[in-house]
Subunit: 169 residues, 2 copies
DNA sequence: GATTTTATGTCAGCCTTGTTGACTATCCAA
DNA sequence: TTGGATAGTCAACAAGGCTGACATAAAATC
């Protein structure tokens, strides 16, 4: 803790760990997250949905047939909260809920064609911004970006993320 | 758009721009942001405050004497929303509001000693996680992390961020 | 077969934090 | 001095978190 404004140490600078640098990282997260959600927010507003609907659709799209409980643990909200969102999505015909065959207590959630269409619109907007940022920063920066984000997650969430991450590719 | 699962192009791989990679980046942002806010959230709960209070305190700490309007443009909320938060912070003696000398319409905001104490507690928790993530990822990754985040911001917010960023150091 | 646990859904009610609209106080410029 | 712009406040409403209580069906256990 005593490397005031010191220079390189042991061949590698520790300057990136100063409180000042950390504070900049914190603010970067804050402002970037705003940008990250800005485009979907605009689209959602037109459809009278909120971020909660987006998150639900994202993960249903990602893991079709997932159960309510699965979704709960990924989203980290209460079932009452999720249920409200899910109910409107089902009523509006964006999400289909099917009673499980093996375990009839479970409901398996999938996006309908209409749901897929909106999900595509939302995620394309988000990917588009991410693509621009990635392109501007370059592959090396992207690798670093992902490394830091992964290290910042709660262990439980990192598990979730890794499962999704590696399941996909 | 036609580099299916292709290899390096023009000496530099474009694999990091596939939809799959972008989707991973999106989810990394989602999960990481949760981690990012987890520690302050726990502390805030004990004090009966929310994230809005944290954000206000952060930027008041950062720019002591700032006006309500300044804060508004940084936080990107309506003044009514901010006002409510500010009112409780002032009532609770965490923030001091001083009528401007030159322009008496303005209120200049500063943290009281009590406010500084809470801000320190909150930001230390957040820095601590950030520090761990930075340390785990290393300086190169941190540079990339910041580059991508900066590229992801809305231009207006990037301006704000840059001003703060460069004003501080 | 009876009991307990699990998965889901629903109602009621609360809180935080967004929103818009109306209002006051002050400054500045015609 | 008056009228428009600017800074801030107050009131009321909505979205989406939360807890708690309760219902139902199905699975698992005794």
């Amino acid at each position: 803790m005593a490397e005031g404004g010191a220079g390189p140490v042991g061949g590698e600078s520790l300057l990136f760990l100063t409180d000042e640098q950390l504070r900049k990282g914190i603010e970067a997260m804050f402002f970037a997250y705003r940008g990250f959600t800005a485009d979907p927010d605009r689209i959602l507003e037109r459809h009278d949905y909120g971020r909660a609907h987006h998150r639900a659709m994202h993960f249903i799209h990602r893991s079709p047939g997932t159960t309510v409980n699965n979704l709960l643990s990924i989203l980290g909200v209460t079932k009452q909260s999720l249920n409200r969102v899910l109910r409107t999505l089902i009523e509006d015909g964006l999400v289909a809920s099917q009673v499980g065959r093996r375990d009839k207590r479970e409901r398996h959630l999938t996006l309908t064609e209409k749901g897929e269409a909106l999900e595509r619109e939302l995620s394309e907007a988000q990917r588009s911004r991410m693509r621009a940022a990635y392109r501007a920063a370059g592959p090396q920066a992207v690798a670093g970006f992902r490394q830091v984000l992964e290290a910042m997650m709660e262990p439980e969430m990192r598990r979730q993320y890794m499962t999704l991450r590696d399941g996909g590719a």
